[in-house]
Structure formats: C-alpha cells, structure tokens
C-alpha cells in the first residue's frame, strides 16, 4: 500500500540524507519526494510517498523518523483526512490544426499552456494523481516530448 508521509524538519544540510537513509537502508524505494521551506524559513516540509511492502517495517521507519534529532513532526496521511496534489510540466507538440482539440482537453483538466516556442508548448497541470494520470494518457496522442512532476504534496485537514 502506498503511504504519503509528511515530515517537518529543520531546514539545514544533511537532514534530507538522514531521512532518505532510513528508507534506503531497508531497501525501500521512495516513489516521490517533495521538499521545501515552510512559512518559517528555518523549517522544511518533506512529503514522501513510499510503497510499504510490510506495514510493520513502515511503522518502524516512522518511529525512527521521529527519533531523528532534526525531525520535528511526522504525519502519515493514510486514514487521515487530507488534500493532496501534484504539479506537472509537460512539453507537447503544438500545431495549428491540433490547437482547438488541445485547448478543449486542457480546459477539461484545468490545465494551461504556460509557454509556447515554435512547434512545442509547455503545459502545466495541478491535480490529484489519478486525474494527472488521465490527463497524461489523453495528452499522449499529441505527443509528450518531456515530462517533469513534483511528486505528491499533501496537507491534513
């Protein structure tokens, strides 16, 4: 089962390595990771998505995250009311004949063209991950040349 875990940490060098080390030491792959400053510049939020092969091991990882000196709080959003989103930037082929079809599609998903250069357009989209997946499938026929995504970020209600 996929878990979304949010970790509030001290914003200083080495902290990411300490957090990531708890996962890598057990052979756990981090599916996505988003790190950024909070309102207070001396703390950062890390949102980590990880596939738990064994819930007991994940429980242990969470306890050990809490034990790290630089970790302030740990929240597992599984079974917790929350909002989560992901931002993507995608470079797609753009031509005059596809313009209308593309715009209709983007409208449907609340996505925008943020930049256009020659025959490519850069699209931004924000949404829940299953919505993003749908959009990417639909964009496929226009030809997605490159894609970057932030990974999931989440906030408890």
């Amino acid at each position: 089962m996929k878990h979304t875990i949010s970790v509030l940490v001290e914003n200083k060098f080495g902290v990411l390595a300490r957090v990531a080390g708890l996962f890598s030491a057990r052979g756990y792959n981090i599916a996505s990771l988003a790190v950024s400053e909070t309102l207070a510049p001396d703390t950062s939020y890390m949102t980590i998505v990880v596939e738990a092969e064994d819930e007991k091991i994940l429980e242990q990882i969470k306890k050990q995250l809490n034990k790290l000196i630089d970790v302030i709080t740990v929240t597992d959003f599984t079974n917790k009311e929350h909002v989560d989103r992901e931002l993507i930037l995608a470079k797609v082929n753009y031509s005059a004949k596809d313009k209308t079809r593309l715009e209709i599609l983007l409208n449907k998903y609340g996505a925008n063209i943020v930049e256009r250069k020659g025959s490519v357009a850069v699209i931004e989209a924000v949404g829940k991950q299953d919505r993003i997946r749908e959009l990417l499938l639909a964009l496929d026929k226009f030809g997605v040349k490159e894609l970057v995504r932030t990974g999931r970020i989440a906030l408890a209600l």
Binding site: V9, R18, G21, A25, Q60, K63, Q64, N66, K67, I69
Partner: protein, 554 residues
C-alpha cells in the same frame, strides 16, 4: 581564541578530564591546543584503540567518553568503535579533523566524508562550518550523547575552522526544539502495568542495559523484592541485579541459563525494562514467552513492538518508571508457588560444565571471580570467551561488566579495559580474552605500559576462533574452515612491550597465576592453555525457541 582553543575550553566545561586519540595532519591545531590543556590525553597505538577506550571509559564511569582522530584514515579507523557504541547505546563524543572547508569534496589528501560515513551509526553528527558554532556544537554533542537513549556523536572540524579566531561564548543552555526525550512514563500506562503485576502469578523481570544507563539498579532490586519476582538479564544487563540474589536467574537467550529460558517460557507476565528483545535473547519470536503478557519499559519508542508484541508499552526513563511502579503497586502478587517452581528449574537445569584434569575455560573464569571476590571490572572480547565470562563471573554491581553486545566487535575488550582503568584507576580491570580477539588490538599493550595503565589480560587460549569452530562443529559437520589460529608466544610478546607474561598449562597453576597477575603492578598477560574444543552450553540454535536448548552435558 582560535577554534582549537575553543574546543579545548568547551571540553573542559563539559567536564572532560581524559581523552584518547591519535594525531595527524588535520588536527595539528587541536594537538597544539592540547599541549597547554589540563586534559589527560592518552596516545593510543591505533585509532580503533582510542574509540574503544573512550567507550570502555564511558561504560565504567557513566560519563561521556571522548576520542580524537585526524581526517580520512584516522576517522575511518574510528568507524567500528562508533558503530559499537551506537549498538550498545554508549555515550561517546568522537572528534575528527577534516580537510580545510574549501577543499571538502575535492578528494583532498586524507579526505573522507566522515559525516556521511557515520550518519547511520551515530545518534547525531556535526560538520562545523563556522567557528562561531563550535561552542554550541560541543554543548549539543555532549547533551545528545548523554540524554535519552545515549549514543555516539561525531564532531567533524575542518582544520581551517580550528585556526580561525573568534570570541569564546559559552551557551547558557541547550535548546534543541526537535529533541525532547521522554523521561516520565504515562500515568495511565503505569497504572495498567501495576494492575497486571498485581494479578500475575508467574512474573519475570527481563532487564537490559537500560537499567545501567539509567542507574535504576536499586529501584529494580526493590521492585523484584516487593513483587517477589525472579530477574533475568541480557548480556548488556549484567550487573544490573546481584548474581547472588535468590531471585537471580542469570542471563537468558542463546547462551543464557536453561532455567532462565524455561522460566521465561513458563511465565504469565514479562516485565521488560531497558531491553530490546534482541534476536539473541528471544530466539524464535513467536515462541518467546508464549503464555505471558508483556510490559515493555524503554526510553526509546522505536524499541517498543519492534520484534515482539507488547501489551503495555511505557516510554520513559527506567529509574523514574520503576519508582512510579513501586508506588502504584498496592497489592503484591502471590508468587510463592512460582518461586518454588523456578527453584525447581534451577535445581533441574543448573549451569554447569564437566571439569577434569585439563584446564577448562569456565574453571579459569570461576577462579578469576573467586580471586577478585567478584569485585573486578571485567571486559571481554567476543565469542566463547565473552559467553564464559558472562556465565561464570558473578557480578554484583552495575558498570562492572563491559562487553560488545550488539555489534559483537572482536578486539573491543582490551582497549575497553584500558579506558575503564583510566576512568576507575582504583579498580582491578581484567580483559577476559580469546587468542583470536586479543590479536586484533594487541598494539595497545604499548599504550598501557607507556601510561602505566595496569590492566590484566586473561587469554583463554584454545588455538581456535572458538565460537565459529563451535558452530562449524555443530552445524557444518565439523568441517573446520579457517578457524584454527596460531598466536605468537604471548609471554615473549608481553615482555617485548615491557609488560609481564605468564603461561599456564597445568590446572594446579591456574589460581597461583591469577594471584600473581593481580599482585603485579604492571600490565599482565596470562596465557591460559585451555581445552581446545570446549563448547559454550547451553546453546539455543539460531532461530529456535529459547527453551529448545542444546545442553551438551545434560
């Protein structure tokens, strides 16, 4: 003041009086500051000796042990000792020099990413990038190392930082907002535990190193006597409870006493205090204490429910919680039938060995125990020597048994003995060693002789890497693969270092040799030529239930 002087002043303010280490290119400013420092510096012959000595010092005294090494190879030579301290929750501060801060990452001479290497084996580590941070870093390092569940902390200091000038500002207090160890147990949980204890019929106290680091031995004894419960301990818990006490069950687990393992298996309540249900203790976890409810008291929440189910977890300091429990337990459980049953187990499955004309290693340990009245500080190496020391030396006080528990580091015992003797100069300190392990840090003989650190080394010399040989005998059809080990002439070796060597080949010479060893004011090696293929029993095969022991002689 320059960084190096600030470091020295900070160490003095932290109460450091002795430290162990080795110089090198990137710690020259620190060694220059040491030249004027009142801190007693012990120059070891290898950095590994320094870190184990700091560890032994910490275990014997309860203070933070300190070691110092240069960058690169100096620092990497500390790694085993840091991992060792981490596994056994021992407070040490390891200071390493680092290449100049603007060269970090350039593959500079003697550079290694020390904070990266030590990250998973330290409680915390620091890379000092600004000389103005140095006093705060030292304060935090000692605070983190010695509070909560103790552990090693590394301070990595680039040599240019050691030379920079700034004002010495000592922080009034330590404030780390994300680090607040829990010291007092949850009152509701303590009440629950008290109730369980009152209604139990067959309680067993299972205690570990947490009793010793929290100085909870007195409270433990009071609790055991109040609730009339037998007490078993882990390797790390040796000394937490007097061996001679009628409620003492000795050590449990793989090489524990048979009666301790049977008692745990028959118990209806396990009160675990400062112990972590290690695989060497539990054997097969689904058969560990199968009929018992489990109360687990530990300062580290990540130790709870890690390996076994727990019915009543209590996070906090052992001493505080045992004190609370003593007050909360209104009705004492009636354990008279249980104590009788446990006494029956003790009579039915005594700890024993088959004595004979040859020198048995167990006999040597027993004689050392008798000759020292059980009052010496015993350190051990790792393997058979360690288990025989744990089984046959009868300890009565905390901090008198010093052994590498979690990591199982061969070569630990001798430098640890050295550290213990520096911390407790009035005590007799004896390393019970094997002929394999002692050769791993034998160079420290020079340190001992040079500094008049008079430790005693009793080698149980069987010509084998005995514990591995035992496993090969029992589980690999006696195919002895690379376990037969040669040794130098330990008497001549000792003499060449300026120490004293005694060789013992006859049983009747064992006791006189021990008496002689104790009477000589020097470092002494006694080479006991023991029965080569003696095994450690009882033994629970790895992954088996702890009541399924191989008895050897039973």
């Amino acid at each position: 003041m320059i960084g190096a002087q600030i470091l020295m002043e900070s160490l003095i303010r932290e109460g450091v009086t002795a430290m162990f280490g080795y110089p090198g290119g990137q710690v020259l400013p620190i060694f220059d500051a040491l030249y004027d420092s009142p801190i007693k510096f012990i120059l070891t012959r290898h950095e590994q000796g320094a870190v184990h000595a700091a560890d032994g010092y910490a275990r014997a005294t309860g203070k933070v042990g300190v070691c110092l090494a240069t960058s690169g190879p100096g620092a990497t030579n500390l790694v085993t000792g840091i991992a060792n301290a981490y596994m056994d929750s021992i407070p040490i501060v390891a200071i390493t020099g680092q290449v100049k801060s603007f060269l970090i990452g350039n593959d500079a001479f003697q550079e290694a990413d020390v904070t990266g290497i030590t990250r998973p084996i330290t409680k915390y580590n620091f890379l000092v990038k600004d000389v103005r941070d140095l006093t705060r870093v030292v304060r935090e390092a000692f605070y983190i190392a010695s509070t909560g569940r103790p552990g090693p902390v590394v301070i990595d200091i680039p040599s240019d930082i050691q030379q920079q000038n700034t004002e010495f500002v000592w922080p009034e207090k330590v404030a780390i907002r994300s680090y607040h160890p829990t010291y007092f147990g949850h009152p509701g949980q303590i009440k629950k535990a008290a109730k369980l204890i009152s209604s139990s019929k067959k309680p067993v106290l299972y205690v570990g190193g947490g009793i010793i680091s929290s100085a909870a031995h007195q409270a433990l004894r009071e609790l055991a006597e109040k609730i009339q419960a037998p007490v078993t301990w882990t390797l790390m818990g040796i000394g937490a409870f007097p061996s001679a006490h009628p409620f003492a069950l000795g050590m449990l687990g793989m090489h524990g006493t048979a009666y301790a393992n049977h008692a745990v298996t028959a118990a209806d309540l396990i009160i675990a205090v400062g112990a972590r249900f290690d695989d060497r203790v539990t054997g097969r976890t689904d058969t560990f204490a199968p009929t018992a409810k489990i109360i687990h008291i530990d300062i580290d929440p990540s130790s709870i429910s890690k390996n076994t189910r727990v019915d009543v977890p209590i996070v906090g300091d052992a001493k505080n919680i045992l004190g609370e429990l003593l007050e909360q337990i209104k009705k004492r459980p009636d354990t008279s039938a249980w104590l009788k049953e446990v006494d029956g187990l003790k009579k039915k499955y005594p700890l024993r060995y088959k004595d004979g004309d040859k020198i048995k290693p167990q006999y040597v340990v027993e004689q050392i125990c008798e000759a020292t009245g059980g009052e010496a500080i015993i350190t051990t190496e790792v393997g058979q020597n360690q288990m025989w020391a744990a089984q046959w030396y009868k300890h009565s006080h905390p901090r008198t048994f010093i052994s590498s528990g979690g990591l199982g580091t061969m070569g630990f015992g001798f430098p640890a003995a050295m550290g213990a003797k520096v911390g407790c100069p009035d005590k007799t300190v004896i390393d019970i060693a094997g002929d394999g392990s002692i050769q791993m840090n034998i160079q420290e003989l020079a340190t001992c002789v040079c500094n008049k650190i008079n430790v005693k080394i009793a080698i149980l010399n069987n010509g084998y890497l005995g514990m591995v040989r035992q496993w090969q005998e029992l589980f690999y059809k006696k195919r002895y693969s690379h376990v037969c080990i040669t040794s130098p002439d330990f008497v001549k070796l000792a003499e060449s270092y300026g120490a004293v060597g005694i060789k013992v080949t006859k049983k009747e010479d064992v006791r006189p040799a021990i008496e002689k060893m104790l009477s000589i004011e020097n470092t002494v090696i006694v080479d006991f030529r023991v029965e080569p293929e003696e095994n450690v029993y009882p033994m629970v095969p790895a992954g088996e239930a702890i009541n399924k022991m191989i008895e050897g002689l039973a």
